[in-house]
């Protein structure tokens, strides 16, 4: 049962074949068996989850009509606050903190009857591409335990790819949902900026952060997307418009006549041959289904990584000022308030977080502001323009999600620039505020590890991602003969 999709689990719950309590228990058993190796979770809320599951079962027994994901277990990235449940954001500075309120995403999950199993590991404050920057422990890729599960949401991607949960929530500032999905052979979506409320999402870079679904199938991701999305007056950047019909699009899965633009700049040098091969194969599949493949050029993307590593640190240096040792979280040292702040932030933040705060403080300081932060904002305009031009000749744009498959734990941890290059294909989407999905494109020939295929669509056209993703998924599944995750080694 735990290897089924959330959609199939939902049918099994509706037909009485299983109960939410049984399903939830089975997932905790799985976690007990494999999480010692995978280490996807930072905290398990066993009592809370079992209680919620029993309540859903009772409601179902009474004949109440329940939402499609009611009773389905989910793993929640530890960047989202959940009332009364420890929330650390992967940082020592928040260790032991229990938030007094629910994030809107969490509220929506509860409203939909989703069972939250626990909080997943992540790079500290979502800064990283490997989950090695977690202050607590690294997470291991179920495909090869010596490799990274992607980041920053490596706990969420590892949890679903090791069948510890059928669904997870991630957040994506520069690729933190999509790159983990790519390297674990799962599906991840960064919705349009403003499509999902950021209330209760601990801010890293407010103009880029966006929560979204992680799942093993495109339809499951769509069901989760609809459960969490929508306007929220608690987030002033939340878009006041109807949620795109993503479930309907995932069921349609028809790309006939659709124009698919291949971004010239997001391939070639720096991309692993096996990843490119799988990318080309997916393009051929879409073409055979009747899609029209065109090439588009986005010349300013060459500057996207540089702009991102100025904008995100700048915003983070301001956002993380709230960790001041006064109202919640860690407090270290004695003396004046300032001395306590200095000592707490030294003890509470890890290396990458400090590096980015200092970099952002520098980029925003007078004398450097125009050359760094100001220029980066102009590059952001150029990137938006490149996307607009490209979407004039294509309905969706595509690229490999990440340039390589999962690398070894420790391989890049001492080389920040090499680490940043992982996000080269995912970052432009965040800078422009549009939406994108990563779906598995198969295994790269060199290392038999999963590669990801990225589809990008204009703002609030999230439904196109699911339409294309589901069509490609169906064809590749037929080709492989079984789901990609069935090729992964057995963990227990």
């Amino acid at each position: 049962m735990i290897r089924k999709s959330a959609h199939e689990m939902s049918s099994a719950l509706a037909s009485g074949e299983t109960t939410s309590l049984e399903l939830t228990k089975k997932h905790f058993e799985r976690i007990e068996t494999v999480d010692g190796k995978v280490r996807a979770f930072l905290h398990l809320d066993k009592d809370g989850a079992l209680e919620s599951a029993s309540k859903i079962d009772e409601r179902r027994k009474k004949g109440e009509a329940l939402p499609p994901l009611a009773g389905i277990p989910l793993a929640l990235k530890d960047v989202l606050v959940q009332k009364g449940v420890p929330t650390t954001c992967g940082s020592k500075i928040l260790e032991g903190w229990r938030p007094p309120y629910d994030a809107t995403v969490v509220k929506n999950l509860k409203k939909n009857g989703v069972i939250i199993l626990g909080k997943t590991n992540m790079d500290e404050f979502a800064m990283g591409s490997s989950t090695e920057n977690s202050a607590f422990h690294p997470t291991h890729n179920p495909w090869d335990l010596t490799r990274i599960p992607g980041g920053s949401g490596g706990g969420s991607s590892a949890a679903i790819s090791s069948f510890e949960a059928p669904l997870a929530i991630g957040t994506d500032t520069g690729g933190s949902i999509r790159q983990p999905a790519a390297v674990t052979g799962t599906v991840g979506v960064k919705p349009t900026y403003g499509g999902v409320s950021r209330y209760g999402l601990i801010a890293f870079s407010s103009s880029l952060d966006q929560a979204g679904p992680c799942a093993r199938t495109v339809l499951d991701a769509a069901l989760l997307h609809e459960a969490i999305a929508g306007h929220d007056e608690m987030d002033s950047t939340s878009i006041n418009a109807p949620v795109p019909k993503v479930v309907e699009a995932a069921k349609r899965a028809d790309v006939k006549g659709l124009r698919i633009g291949v971004i010239k700049e997001l391939q070639g040098e720096g991309y692993q041959a096996g990843v490119l091969e799988r990318f080309q194969e997916s393009l051929d599949v879409l073409s055979a289904l009747g899609a029209e493949i065109v090439e588009v050029s986005c010349p300013s993307f060459d500057y996207a990584l540089a702009a991102y590593y100025l904008i995100a640190p700048s915003e983070c240096s301001s956002n993380l000022a709230r960790f001041d040792a006064m109202r919640y979280g860690l407090r270290v040292g004695e003396g004046s308030a300032e001395e306590v702040m200095n000592a707490t932030r030294e003890a509470g933040f890890g290396r990458e977080v400090k590096r980015r705060i200092i970099l952002g403080t520098y980029a925003l300081s007078s004398g450097y502001y125009d050359a760094y932060y100001g220029s980066a904002q102009k590059v952001r305009t150029l990137i938006k323009n490149d996307f607009e031009k490209s979407f004039a000749s294509a309905d969706v744009l595509v690229s490999p999600t990440a340039p390589t498959t999962a690398f070894k734990i420790g391989e890049k941890s001492n080389d920040p620039l090499a680490m940043y290059l992982n996000d080269i294909a995912t970052i432009p989407v965040n800078l422009a505020g549009i939406c994108a999905i990563s779906i598995p494109s198969g295994l790269a020939k060199e290392d038999s590890l999963p590669a990801g295929f990225q589809v990008m669509a204009p703002a609030m056209a999230d439904d196109r991602l699911y339409n294309v993703g589901a069509a490609l998924e169906r064809e590749l599944l037929a080709k492989w003969g079984k789901p990609l995750l069935d090729f992964a080694p057995e963990l227990s």
Binding site: S236, Y309, A337, A343, T361, A371
Partner: protein, 102 residues
């Protein structure tokens, strides 16, 4: 990479002070050399940032977003204080903020 920006150790120490993070001598050494490499890589944004290009600070063209000012239930004082490192008489207890009066 010939004209790379060089960031001095003293500059990093000043930034750390502004960001309210204590840093050890070795941390300062390490970070200043790392920042040098990162800044050289990101400085290229200025190559294409012409005067005629407007900056984008945010993906959405929003100005002010207003809602009705309606009184609603919010956190109780007890809830707001629940994560405080120290509290007293229903308030946050913080270290001394102002210096001694002369």
């Amino acid at each position: 990479m010939s004209d790379k920006p060089s960031i001095s150790r003293e500059e990093v120490a000043n930034l750390a002070r502004l960001a309210r993070i204590d840093m050890s001598e070795s941390e300062l050494d390490h970070l200043s050399s790392e920042l040098d490499v990162i800044l050289s890589a990101v400085a290229r944004v200025s190559e294409v940032a012409g005067d005629d290009i407007p900056p984008t600070s945010h993906p959405l063209p929003l100005l002010n977003v207003f809602r009705e000012d309606v009184v609603k239930a919010s956190l109780t004082a007890e809830e707001a204080l629940s994560g405080a490192p120290a509290k007293e008489d229903g308030r946050f207890k913080v270290p001394q903020i102002l210096g001694e009066e002369a």
